[in-house]
């Protein structure tokens, strides 16, 4: 008897649970006629960055209220958003980007905001290269937040010590690396988990791994631009010119950069403050220089792939979300609100046509020593020469993790860059086709 009752109880419970799990609360949109609309914004930035922006926004807007919800970190934000969108509950309206827009749109996480955002594109608020980073298949799934200018900083003291001139091209960088190697110094660092150097070089060469042709993805990891980038990486790895320090242990990494054993860093404005704060030995030894170019480049080009503030699928107030995000990415008020007393820096206004008023604050006081004045020109030249040819497909999130695995094998010389690209070509096309997406290549 007891057993029977238990069985009945168990079956009932099971049935209820399944039913409950099956109907993941689809709630009707609440009417938003009365009072200001609240836009929830998820970001893993520290409170000191979020709070001043939110305060300023709310002080200057009546019909929209911005509410920041601090997330733990990038993976935590990704997991929370995937859950919220799947559950169709408590979906935020703005989220700091944790991937590539097409990859996230392909996952079904983002809302198409083309209709709401397009009017702003006609107002001259944004610089041209910023737009691509918020698009997937020609539609907007977020609001452009711009790009960070790419340049290089070198430990000039070490370069001078061994009589090596600062590199203007990637070939010169490789040659410098061969010279430095004789003295036990690495020219660059390629972390085993981060293939972004290959991605950035491909972008700088004007290449992209995906292209849309009609309603089909054309995948080409072996394009001439991609192979040009591959050759630079191959030379650096093959000749043992690079260190492989991981990003996971930040203090160890920064201490290594500071040690003088690794002397060139492709970098951007947002990283300079960190170097200034944590370098001890080499402060003042560094010099900002133009990003090395490919020898046959017709004009000076820097890679500049833009990012976006994401608008997730299920956001109830898309129009207001877009309005708030446009304010955050383009208004002088927002840039001013980002000022930090401790570092004396503004967040880099990467989306606007003319960021020159804020360049000076982006350059820290001691890192470059007497060469501090050179930084302004280097940064503005990088902004002016920025191009964004980069398009990625809807499966890029997964493709990138596969690329990470391949990259780790490249830097440890288990495979060549070309072999990795051949593998990625097949992997990407097969994966797209398995998802029933039109693909060629």
């Amino acid at each position: 008897m007891a057993r029977k009752q238990l069985k009945v109880a168990a079956v009932t419970l099971l049935a209820t649970s399944v039913t409950l799990a099956g109907c993941g609360g689809e709630q009707p949109a609440a009417p938003q006629n009365k009072g200001p609309v609240t836009i929830t914004w998820w970001s893993w930035d520290e409170h000191k960055f979020l709070d001043s922006t939110v305060e300023k926004f709310n002080a200057t807007h009546d019909h929209i209220k911005l509410k920041a919800v601090k997330q733990a970190d990038l993976p935590g934000t990704a997991a929370n958003l995937r859950n919220a969108v799947a559950a169709k509950q408590d979906v935020p309206c703005l989220v700091k980007n944790f991937g590539e827009v097409p990859g996230l749109a392909g996952e079904g996480l983002l809302e198409d905001v083309t209709e709401e955002f397009e009017p702003y594109t006609k107002k001259g608020l944004y610089n041209e290269p910023s737009y691509a980073g918020a698009q997937a298949g020609g539609r907007y799934y977020g609001v452009p937040s711009g790009f960070n200018p790419s340049f290089m900083i070198i430990n000039r003291a070490v370069y001078d010590k061994y009589g090596i001139a600062p590199p203007k091209t990637w070939d010169e960088l490789i040659a410098a690396g061969k010279e430095l190697k004789k003295h036990g110094v690495y020219v660059m660092n390629l972390a085993g988990e981060d293939p972004s150097t290959l991605v950035n070089l491909t972008q700088q060469a004007g290449g992209t791994w995906y292209k849309v042709e009609g309603d089909t993805w054309k995948v080409d990891f072996l394009s001439p631009e991609s192979l040009k980038a591959a050759e630079v990486v191959q030379q650096l790895v093959e000749n043992d010119l690079v260190a492989n320090q991981t990003y996971q242990d930040r203090p160890a990494l920064i201490a290594y950069f500071d040690s003088g054993k690794m002397v060139s860093l492709p970098t951007s404005t947002w990283q300079l403050g960190n170097y200034e704060l944590n370098y001890k030995k080499s402060l003042g030894d560094w010099q900002p220089i133009d990003l090395p170019q490919f020898v046959d480049a017709p004009t000076f080009v820097t890679n500049a792939h833009g990012s976006a503030i994401l608008v997730p699928k299920g956001c109830q107030n898309v129009k207001e979300a877009v309005e708030a995000a446009v304010w955050m990415t383009t208004s002088k008020e927002a840039v001013d609100a980002s000022y930090q007393e401790d570092t004396k820096q503004y967040a880099w206004p990467g989306a606007i046509p003319d960021p020159s008023p804020w360049v000076d604050s982006a350059v820290p006081a001691k890192l470059f020593g007497e060469r501090r004045a050179e930084a302004k020109d280097v940064i503005l030249k990088a902004v002016k020469s920025a191009r964004d040819p980069w398009v990625v497909g809807p499966n890029y999130t997964g493709v990138f993790t596969e690329l990470q695995d391949q990259w780790a094998q490249i830097v440890t010389k288990k495979i060549t860059v070309r072999e990795a690209l051949e593998h990625m070509q097949k992997f990407t096309v097969d994966d797209l086709k398995a998802k029933n997406i039109n693909a060629q290549g």
Binding site: A2, L14, G192, W217, A252, K435
Partner: protein, 308 residues
């Protein structure tokens, strides 16, 4: 007398029934937990595994969810990378589990031979690593192994040994050492408790017959604690086949060796949270559960038939 019997019987039955229900009611919390956290997820995972999310065109439009029956499970059965991970972990289990068991039994036997006071001190010390959460333990060892800041590399260098704990050759040894460090204490405790339960008179008898302590340990103690050994081994098999957090953290130090699908659970995690394909991840989870269940069952059967 017969009358008294006939009136007494129903009341006894009722009392028994009440007692039975009362007794059974103690299992309700367990069954509730079991249903909610084991049965329901299994049913849901099975259901998930039978569907496939399909895109169309360029892949940005609405997705369709199609019933695909056993297609995901069959794809999993043929997934070379998943089975490569399984093979990797199975080989690791086949080597590490016997070694860890041997060490646990040896330590338990030593403690059993020592006085209670000495045993109590060592027992606690040996159990401390088990009390440290797995992630924290891994972080501690990642530091110890680090060729840049850890103390082990310079220590081995003193003897002229160039020890790179993150190299492809040593990575499993590094993970195995970490698991042994955390696992020996727990296994030892169970084995030690079983040893303590063996009546001491048996040993006295053996000693009178002239058996050495080694002989007693091998021929009397070990056979008598076989059930506990089977238990700790099965728990180790299940734990090792599902190994996740240790290699996941080691990945940051040796990404060229510890790939994203290095172990079966890492592969499942990757499919679910990096590739976003929950259907296929569910199918692989079911396959893994079947493999773990099968491995445990085979081990049970094998050990039950083994001569004592």
């Amino acid at each position: 007398m017969p009358r008294a019997d006939s009136t007494a019987t129903p009341s006894v039955m009722t009392w028994r029934r009440i007692a039975a229900i009362k007794g059974a009611s103690f299992t309700i919390p367990f069954f509730l937990g079991f249903v909610l956290f084991t049965a329901v997820p299994i049913v849901l995972a099975l259901r998930e595994s039978m569907y496939t999310t399909k895109s169309s065109g360029l892949g940005f439009g609405e997705k369709t969810i199609e019933f695909s029956g056993l297609a995901n499970l069959l794809k999993g059965v043929r997934d070379e990378r998943f089975w490569a991970g399984m093979g990797r972990v199975a080989l690791f289990a086949a080597i590490s589990i016997p070694l860890i068991q041997l060490a646990s039994v040896a330590v338990a036997l030593l403690l059993d031979a020592a006085t209670r006071k000495v045993a109590a001190r060592f027992r606690l010390a040996l159990l401390i690593p088990y009390m440290i959460p797995g992630i924290v333990a891994t972080l501690i060892w990642i530091y110890l192994y680090s060729p840049d800041v850890g103390p082990l590399t310079p220590f081995f260098a003193l003897f002229g040994v160039d020890a790179d704990f993150y190299s492809g050759e040593l990575i499993w040894v590094s993970i195995g050492n970490l698991m042994a460090w955390g696992g020996i204490g727990f296994n030892m405790l169970i084995v030690y408790a079983a040893l303590q339960a063996v009546p001491r008179e048996i040993f006295e008898g053996a000693r009178v017959d002239g058996a050495s302590e080694l002989r007693i340990a091998w021929s009397i103690k070990v056979p008598l604690i076989r059930r506990s050994l089977v238990l700790t081994t099965v728990l180790s098999i299940i734990g090792t086949l599902q190994i996740f957090s240790d290699p996941m953290l080691f990945r940051s130090m040796a990404p060229e060796t510890v790939t994203r699908d290095f172990t079966p659970i890492m592969g499942i995690y990757d499919w679910a949270f990096a590739q976003g394909d929950f259907n296929y991840a569910a199918a692989l989870s079911i396959i893994l559960a079947l493999v773990v269940g099968l491995a445990s069952a085979i081990f049970y059967r094998f050990t039950n038939k083994a001569p004592t």
